[in-house]
């Protein structure tokens, strides 16, 4: 009897709060909008299940939003809790979008909240959205009634297609805190009532300074990661064009010190084949020509892009990181001062393997 009493008291006081999966309000997407100097508005999108006992799973999931305005994440959380019929839970958060005003103001505070929350995974997609994220999350796209799934699939798809470089919470935080490197996020916009990824938002520290177009994004991607399976379109004279498929890119850097000033050589090797060509015929000569044009175009574009970054005084390519890892006793401050004037040589080496299957 005594043992039983002890056991019962143990069981009652040892219990932890249950979070049964169907009694939670699982946040799938969050949008953060700029309100004024002090406050921001958070909109969370939660799924609403209309299925009858799982017989038509996958269908019947729509989303609903809860909005709160506040100064800190804590304030907002409290307001949301008061508006929610169920326990709010962050563990299934897939996408967090900042509106561009917010991003320009700096997002370190909010980003840190998500990074520190053990419930939030590292594969969370962060992104910048041009416009009100509140409105975005409130409407339901026709292709996929659940907006968060739509957004995360959209970003994932663009990364897999090599339109934009790899991105998720880990990559964002990694680059944010890496010395000699700046971070970036996917940039989304609503064009003709359709949300799309239009490029990459470039940051200086935690503040967005510019947005790259899709064309610039793929060039940017070539500079910062090795990949295979991309596509690139080359414009040829006489309004012709050729599309390069299965493009692989591999970049490497060389650093030389000249009078205390680093000089960087960028070597890019790309490989691919011509898949579409508007002119006819496509012979070896033409392929060589395309190859040459591609090399030239890439060299110019890359130089332009780097110049752009230098003018913005931001270093998302991580040239500083390349210098740092090749120098003993690297001084970050000194590099920041030098950066806008650092000389960057670009060497592009392309190989076009064949002219597609049709020849």
């Amino acid at each position: 009897m005594k043992k039983l009493v002890i056991l019962l008291t143990f069981l009652t006081s040892a219990c932890v709060q249950q979070e049964i999966v169907d009694e939670l309000l699982l946040i799938h997407a969050t949008g953060i909008d700029y309100v004024d100097e002090l406050n921001f508005r958070a909109t969370v999108s939660v799924p609403i299940y209309k299925g009858d006992n799982g017989n038509n799973s996958g269908e019947g999931v729509t989303s609903e939003t809860i909005t709160a305005v506040g100064r800190t994440a804590k304030n907002i959380r409290a307001e949301m809790d008061s508006k929610s019929p169920k326990l709010i839970n962050n563990s299934k958060l897939a996408v967090v979008l900042f509106n561009n005003e917010m991003a320009k103001k700096g997002i370190i505070e909010q980003g840190d909240t998500f990074y520190r929350d053990p419930l939030v995974g590292q594969r969370l997609y962060l992104g910048v959205f041009e416009g009100s994220t509140n409105q975005l999350l409130e409407n339901q796209p026709s292709l996929q009634p659940e907006i968060s799934k739509y957004l995360s699939e959209l970003i994932e798809q663009n990364i897999n297609n090599h339109n934009i470089p790899k991105s998720n919470m880990h990559v964002f935080v990694y680059r944010l805190y890496q010395e000699g490197m700046e971070t970036y996020l996917p940039y989304l916009k609503k064009v003709n009532d359709q949300v799309q990824v239009t490029g990459v938002a470039i940051f200086k520290n935690d503040k967005m300074v510019s947005a790259l177009s899709l064309e610039e994004s793929i060039i940017f991607k070539m500079l910062i990661e090795n990949f295979q399976g991309g596509t690139y379109e080359v414009a040829l004279p006489d309004k012709e064009f050729a599309s390069i498929r299965n493009l692989s890119a591999q970049s490497s850097y060389q650093v030389e010190m000249r009078k205390g000033m680093p000089e960087i050589t960028l070597n890019l090797r790309t490989k691919g084949y011509v898949n579409e060509y508007s002119g006819i015929p496509l012979d070896q000569k033409k392929i060589n020509e395309i190859n040459h044009l591609l090399e030239e175009e890439l060299t110019v574009e890359i130089s332009k892009l780097i110049k752009k970054f230098q003018d913005l005084e931001t270093d998302p390519v991580g040239l500083g990181f390349q210098v740092k890892t090749r120098t003993r006793g690297w001084d970050e401050q000194k590099w920041t001062d030098q950066y806008p004037n650092v000389k960057v040589h670009v060497n592009v080496d392309t190989i076009i393997t064949h002219g597609g299957v049709s020849d």
């Binding site: 999966v21 006992n53 996958g58 563990s91 299934k92």
Partner: protein, 492 residues
Amino acid sequence: MKPDNFNHSPVTLTSLLETLKASRDFHLQAFTIAGKPFNLFYYSSLTDQTVFKKELLPCLRKAENSSLKEITEAIPFIEALIVKDVKKVEEKLLTGFLGLNLQGGTDECLLIPVKEQKHRDVTVPEVEFSVIGPKEGFIEDIDTNIYLIRKRLPVKNLINSEIEVGSLSKTRVAVLYLDGIADEENVNTIKQRVEDIEFDHIDDSSYINQLIEDNSKSPFPQLLDTERPDRTAASLTEGKVAVLVDGSPTAIIGPTTFLEFFSAFDDYFSNWIISSILRVIRVFSVAFSIFATAIYVAVLTYHTPLIPRDLLDTLVQSRDAIPFPPIIEAVFLELTIELLREAGARLPSKVGQTIGIVGGIVIGTAAVEAGLTSNVLLIIVALSALASFTTPIYRIGNTIRLLRFPFLFAAQLWGLVGIFIGIGFLLVHLLGLTSLGRPYLEPLYPLRLQDMKDSVIRLPFSRQSQRPVHMRPDNPKRFNKQQARKTRDIDD
């Protein structure tokens, strides 16, 4: 107070016969041999009347001499014996002997064995049935069982030492082992433990099994029980000790290991690759059976982050209409399954099957449709019930089904943390278990790579040249490994 009638035994033959006459099936009649009056007494229920009338009586009638010794020589029963001790007479009469005593003479009796031999024929083993391989199973008669083993092991080293156990049942318990192969320590341990048994009535080998186990507080069986003579014989050759009990169609084999409970004897009949895969499947299915429901409860109650997003939709939708927390749902379904199994086991086999199917389908579908359980859980519970029946040894299957419940409650208390604390207890318990003083988890712990050849996997017979180290066999070599054949090159 009444005098202790029970343990009191008559001192003289006359008083013994008086006592025994109280039973209706005890016969005492006068009989004349060579002109002298004899008492003939026996239990009609214990003696074979045909033998008695057709073989014994004519001989007795023809007997020319009246001394017991000469009668013994005249009758065709070698086991007949002359006994003076009244107690011994009592004992023998009760095991089917027939007594003959000169009227008015001494207490000296001639005891003639006319035992009734009633037992069923050797049939196919029911629990450990195998599709291929021998189809003999043990029966209730110990002599037949010993015969079945001796037939497979016609060597003089097969020793059978018999011990009588049970103050009332006087059950014959045979300890069998191969002298020169089995470790003497094992043999002595088992003999000692059987001799030490203090119990009045032994009905089955499982009584002995429970009475001689190392740790009777453990739900895990620490001695293997089998109804297959082939398995018993094979175990004997590995250096194990077998115990047969009169009146029981199962033999006990020890020392055993945990993994042995997952090896079916069929495994030795098919190709080693196939049987190894089957054994691995069995181990996994047992793990699934124990943990699946508990993990369901843990994950759904506490660990939402673990569930992949796409799976989550399915899970939430299947649980949407259910008013109970996962634990109630799970316990309800688990109990239903146990109920079905128990009902199926008690009912005659044909009805049992019907109940199983009807109960399974009807109750399951109805429960889901009524919104009492989710269909995902129904699948899990049904699968884990099925998985628990893959164990070839029936008793461990029961253990596994029982183990599910503590894990279920641990999962409810602390989710996966609770489950892993439960695993901790299980692990410590298994690590501490022994079978006849030998570690139960061998060859996992203590790690013996040599014995891995026949554990979770089974290597081909050519690799099984050594007996398991675990048994510490006196003679570790099974066969002389052939001289390694010269590896042939292509097309030689």
